[in-house]
């Protein structure tokens, strides 16, 4: 997902009466409580997208926090100064108590956002969410036409249902964000996806290139775009932004493999973001559990969420710059990108304290970039679908 806050599209110079709070009063210096928190209320999901951002080792239903536990978490978040919560998953609507959780969040004054695959929703259910105080809906799309989109989702009828739910969303006067995760097998549909977002009366479109960890890393050979595809994507996004100014805001996330500078992942570890996993772990990033050797504290522990954020070992391990090794340690960009993504550094180098290989200054950058480039030009199109069994290989036409 994209950065939760700090949209570069909003001007924030002093002459402007509106400013992005995150930029004006940075939490970065004080590690103040984040403005928004991602709640992954379940890992259960009827879709099987091969680039799912959930960890490969998913939390089973039996480990999920109970309704009362989530309500206690929501109350605590509001008390310590969190302003927005994103209900995500897995598929958050797989939880029967979601209406109750949205209602409770609204009652405590939290701004609520639903990040959904939409396939489990009915119009009545969405209406109940709206009545409970839901403020915004984000629906993921896998493409623009049934066969290809349903193949990526690993779920027949998904695309058709998503279009229907998007329509209900606007009928209920809820603002809509279309989230389109992009990769080699759907990038050619980008112009149609942009038009689809306009036709659905969305306010925002996230054109999010896959980020390659967890499930996506397992599927990298089938998903990695070519450099030419990426250049074309950037051109299309820039043209559409200009053409649709005032109609559709477009957020654009490039795949960092093809960047020279790594992304400032999560705004820097433990600086402005945390999420809570289905089992109640408080995490610096939704992929953080992929880093072995870190012990993440739970909301079920004796510690408060604020204490975990400020004091726990996992949050402090990669905070700031003290943990860095070369080339990060003496790099002039160390406080700009904080060495990139810790999860990616761990996945690709075996040590989360290494420079993210997305950075051109990493000794591994060249090797990994070349490998990705080869994969992008290759013939491998078969998906490993995401599920609780550790993944299932695609069968049929694209299968082995």
């Amino acid at each position: 997902m994209s950065d939760v806050l700090g949209d570069p599209g909003v001007p924030h110079d002093v002459s402007d009466s509106l400013a992005v709070l995150e930029k004006q009063r940075s939490t970065a210096e004080t590690f103040g409580i984040p403005l928004a928190v991602l709640l992954e209320v379940t890992h259960r999901c009827p879709l099987q997208c091969p680039y799912c951002s959930n960890p490969v080792e998913l939390d089973r239903a039996g480990k999920e926090l109970t309704t009362e536990e989530w309500k206690r978490v929501l109350t605590e978040l509001a008390e310590i100064g969190v302003l927005q919560v994103h209900f995500s998953g897995g598929e958050p609507t797989a939880r029967k108590d979601l209406v109750e959780l949205i209602k409770h969040a609204s009652d405590t004054g939290l701004y609520t956002n639903l990040i959904t695959s939409a396939v489990l929703l009915t119009r009545d259910k969405l209406g109940e969410f709206a009545d409970a105080g839901l403020c915004h809906v984000q629906i993921s799309f896998q493409g623009t036409e049934d066969i290809a989109a349903d193949r990526v989702a690993g779920y027949k009828g998904a695309h058709h249902k998503k279009l229907e739910v998007a329509k209900w969303t606007r009928e209920l006067d809820l603002p809509l964000t279309v989230n389109a995760v992009m990769h080699r097998q759907n990038l050619h549909q980008l112009p149609d996806i942009i038009q689809m977002a306009v036709d659905l009366d969305a306010d925002r479109l996230e054109v999010a290139n896959v980020q390659y960890y967890g499930w996506a890393l397992k599927n990298r050979a089938a998903l990695m775009p070519t450099v030419a595809q990426l250049d074309e994507t950037t051109r299309i996004v820039e043209e559409a932004r200009e053409r649709l100014k005032g109609t559709l805001a477009i957020d654009y996330v490039v795949p960092d493999y093809y960047a020279l500078r790594p992304k400032k992942c999560m705004g820097g570890w433990g600086r402005q973001f945390f999420n809570i996993s289905p089992a109640g772990k408080v995490l610096p990033c939704h992929a953080a559990e992929s880093i072995t050797g870190l012990d993440f504290e739970s909301v079920r522990s004796n510690h408060s969420i604020a204490w975990i954020w400020q004091n726990s070992d996992a949050f402090n391990r990669y905070r700031g710059t003290g943990w860095m090794k070369e080339p990060c340690k003496t790099c002039e960009f160390r406080e700009i990108d904080f060495g990139g993504c810790r999860c990616q550094a761990f996945a690709l180098t075996g040590d989360a304290a290494n420079t993210d290989p997305a950075c051109a200054l990493s000794p591994l950058h060249e090797t990994i970039f070349k490998q990705a480039e080869r994969e992008a030009e290759g013939e491998t199109n078969r998906f490993l679908y995401r599920n609780f069994a550790g993944g299932t290989w695609e069968s049929g036409e694209n299968g082995a």
């Binding site: 909003v10 009466s17 509106l18 009063r25 928004a36 100064g81």
Partner: protein, 103 residues
């Protein structure tokens, strides 16, 4: 259905925050904020004062009257400032117009 996406703010407009933009006092950070999808905005004091008058009942002219009286300032200057500020908000999608009731 949703209110109009693009509005042109005039003296007769009766602006109101759409349901997805919420004006709130943040007790932790001691600052007014507008909560919006994926964003938190920090309006300045004047913007907050104007936004608190945006109830979908008052029109912009009423607001200018009220602020001119309160600050003993020329109404024309206030009116143009208020319109500019609200138009800016509307252009960013954080303001809509109260709709006429259909009889």
């Amino acid at each position: 259905m949703a209110g109009p996406r693009h509005i042109s703010v005039s003296e007769a407009s009766r602006p109101v925050l759409p349901r997805h933009a919420k004006l709130k006092y943040d007790e932790t950070r001691k600052v007014w904020v507008i909560l919006a999808p994926e964003r938190v905005l920090a309006p300045d004091e004047i913007a907050v004062e104007v936004l608190q008058l945006c109830d979908g009942i008052r029109n912009v002219g009423d607001m200018a009257d009220q602020l001119a009286a309160k600050y003993a300032a020329p109404r024309d200057a206030i009116l143009s400032d208020v319109i500019a500020m609200l138009q800016d908000l509307a252009d960013k999608g954080f303001l809509t117009e109260a709709r006429e009731k259909t009889s």
